[in-house]
């Protein structure tokens, strides 16, 4: 549900990074934060445990350029991937305008990806959001690791609606901006059609 402020001529979208624990969601935001010009970024909020696992969420506010006379702002959120934080994940998905699924390519995390994707669908539904139509991209992260499964195998299992897929190595910034751009494009394109943007409250 984008927020359109005609008074300030500003559009704000909430984009959520979802995926299994330790998959690299927070790392995506950190890389973006570190590589964004000062004027374009707000303060990064991180609610994490002592061991740097996301406890509630991370937030990175970005102000990008203008489009059709409107300034654009994006609020990038990550959810906590650990299974037992499900209640928090559900809260953060509320009002989301787009989702990036960050999959962990390692063979040992295959099941965790599948489970997290199932969990995403469920939590979208519980928030009155439709997995089939919400702006969505798939990121296959940790491509640098020797234990990474072949891309085809991951795509086969995880790509479910013909969404754009990006290979990534988040700490090096590989695929990070591409993922974000694809998501931004989908979320803004959605406005033009005036498609009922998912849900309200």
């Amino acid at each position: 549900m984008p927020f359109i402020n005609y008074a300030a001529r500003e559009i704000t979208c909430k984009l959520v990074y979802y995926g299994p624990g330790l998959g690299g969601k927070t790392t995506n935001l950190q890389w973006i934060y570190q590589n964004t010009q000062r004027e374009a970024k707000g303060k990064m909020v991180t609610l994490a445990t002592e061991s740097e696992r996301t406890l509630f969420f991370d937030l990175l506010p970005l102000s990008l350029g203008k489009i059709r006379g409107f300034s654009t702002r994006f609020q990038l959120y990550t959810v906590p991937g650990q299974i037992f934080y499900d209640a928090s994940r559900k809260l953060i998905l509320k009002g989301a305008d787009g989702v990036a699924f960050v999959a962990d390519s390692q063979a040992a995390r295959f099941e965790a990806n599948v489970e997290s994707l199932r969990n995403l669908k469920l939590n979208l539904e519980e928030n009155g959001l439709d997995f089939e139509t919400i702006p969505y991209v798939l990121q296959l992260n940790k491509r640098d690791l020797p234990t990474a499964l072949p891309v085809e195998q991951l795509v086969e299992a995880l790509r479910c609606r013909n969404e754009p897929v990006f290979e990534a190595i988040a700490p090096q910034g590989v695929g990070v901006v591409e993922t974000l751009k694809a998501l931004v494009k989908q979320s803004l394109s959605r406005l033009k059609a005036g498609a009922p943007a998912t849900t309200r409250v």
């Binding site: 549900m1 927020f3 374009a40 303060k43 969420f57 203008k66 509320k94 931004v184 406005l191 005036g194």
Partner: protein, 167 residues
């Protein structure tokens, strides 16, 4: 409920901003913000130097959402108010209708009693403006008078120029 973008027009923006300013004055507080439940900052009054408004709004919304989740677990219907007392700065967070959050920060120049009173007095008016805004957003969605009217075809070039050399 009908799905729609949340649209804030000049009229409601000015109204709600002037209500926030009035609350700021009447309660002797330092800063007042109206926030949507999903964490969007909508309007504010007063000053909080060096504080990122978006981050503030997201934390307030997260806080309310978590407290509401807790309340419903123990069988309580809805959230009414959260209060944090700091050494110098205090924080009062309350709900505005179904979809809004009102955040007030104040120091020793005011008191919890005064803030609570002024918040209670002004909440119906803010709720009204907020509901109007939601109603208009909903109406725009229903009538197909798209909130996204300004968005014509978006190309890859548009997206590239949006990012520019910012990231």
């Amino acid at each position: 409920m009908v799905a729609s973008d949340l649209i804030l027009h000049e009229e409601e923006f000015l109204k709600v901003t002037s209500l926030a300013e009035r609350l700021l004055r009447d309660s002797n507080s330092r800063f007042v913000a109206l926030i949507d439940r999903n964490g969007q900052p909508i309007a504010s009054a007063g000053d909080l130097p060096g504080v990122d408004r978006t981050a503030l709004a997201s934390l307030a919304a997260g806080n309310v959402a978590a407290t509401e989740g807790l309340a419903s677990m123990i069988g309580e219907e809805s959230f009414t108010c959260l209060y944090h007392e700091g050494d110098r700065e205090h924080l009062h967070i309350s709900s505005v209708g179904q979809a809004g959050i009102l955040l007030v920060t104040f120091d020793e120049r005011s008191s919890l009693g005064l803030v609570r009173l002024r918040v209670r007095q002004i909440t119906p008016e803010i709720t009204h403006v907020f509901e109007t805004m939601l109603e208009k957003s909903r109406h725009a969605a229903e009538s197909g008078e798209s909130a996204g009217a300004p968005m014509a075809e978006i190309t890859d070039d548009d997206i590239d120029s949006l990012f520019g050399d910012r990231i």
